[in-house]
Amino acid sequence: METPNEVIFSISEFIELLNIGLKRSKAKIIGEVSEVSFGPTGHVYFSLKDENPSTSSGQGGAMIKCICWKSKYFLFGIKLEEGLKIIASGYPEIYSMSGRLSFIAETIEYAGEGTLQKEYEKLKKKLADEGLFAKERKREIPEYVRKVGIITSKQGAVLADFLTNLGKYGFKIKLIDSRVEGQGAVEDLISAVKTFKNQDIEVLVIMRGGGSLESMMAFNNELLVREIVNFPVPVIAAIGHDKDEPLITLAADLAVSTPSIAATTLTEPWRRVDLLVETALKVSFQKLDNIIQSGKISLGNSWKDLVLGFNSLLSKINLKLENSGKMIYSNNPERQLKLGYSIARCGGKIVKKISDIKIGDNIDLKVSDGTIIAETINLKP
């Protein structure tokens, strides 16, 4: 069986093997920039050397060749120049064509609070002079937002704080997890903002907790600020800070100090609607109750009127029956005959006047129990 020592590599294979191991040796190194040159492809070649020539190993003037790829270099907004003190994060790699070891700088950042502060102020002024922080540029956060894009780290309390305060208003949340600490976050943040540019959202919220100027450097990145300013929908920045406001906070359409305030900004219009609906419901119920009560009173009154009316009708009918009875009684021919009146007829016609008959005519006299037939003997007017 072959042991590793017995394997014979080509140079390129061996360098490739070395590079696999070297890539695991990720590190942050601090030093002064020298020998800066820009390759025709845009990649940046420079050296980093110790500021103080004497090192712990006793070997002064230690130096390492570094490369920063074009795609990364422009992310960080740092112009590498002779004597600049920076921190580079990356890993060593051997270039197979020359056998030379270089440090591949994945991120570069200013070293030292003083430099950071100076560069922060310089960029702030530059962007302010361009009008990127002007109030007139800022857009209103739309009311009744539903679709929200969030850029923050899934780690930590920020996201939980935001979501807790968002309540149950049916928001559609899209989250892009991003590093938010150090220069490495720049790439994540810019990539997340670019991704959200093509997403269907109504507002973008960028959040992180508080921290020092150094830890906030990603949020002071010029490219990121420009992305925020040109973002198609309004942007809310909820980035905690002490003294120096992160530049994307200045560029955002709305800057709030905590994730919970960002959430409240979005929920407030919905809360007001809820309140309006609740109030409207209460008023409607009250009105409905009033209508029912008024209906009851009206029904009660109608019923009273109905009872009175019907009683009056019954009385009228009773009276009519009584009157009819009296009238019929008084007109009853039998009663008249019983009282002694009789009805005289001559030739079938009732005799009302002496001119209705003549002497010698027979008269039928109707009495209560029969008819008397009589002859007219005399007529006296």
Partner: protein, 72 residues
Amino acid sequence: MIKKDLSSNLKRLSEITDWFENQEEIDVEEGLEKVKEAAALIKSSKERLKVVENEFEEIKKSVDVDKTSDEK
């Protein structure tokens, strides 16, 4: 003709009383028939009226009961 319908009976009764009022020559026989008919109409109407009154009282009671339970 006597009907159970109170309003028809009352209408007929009115016709009979009108007949008596407007008759210049009372036909005793016809008058007697009208009197008999009117008497029957009055009797029937009073009975019907009583039934109506009783029904009305029942309805009043049920409405009063409904109102009382509503107030409770």
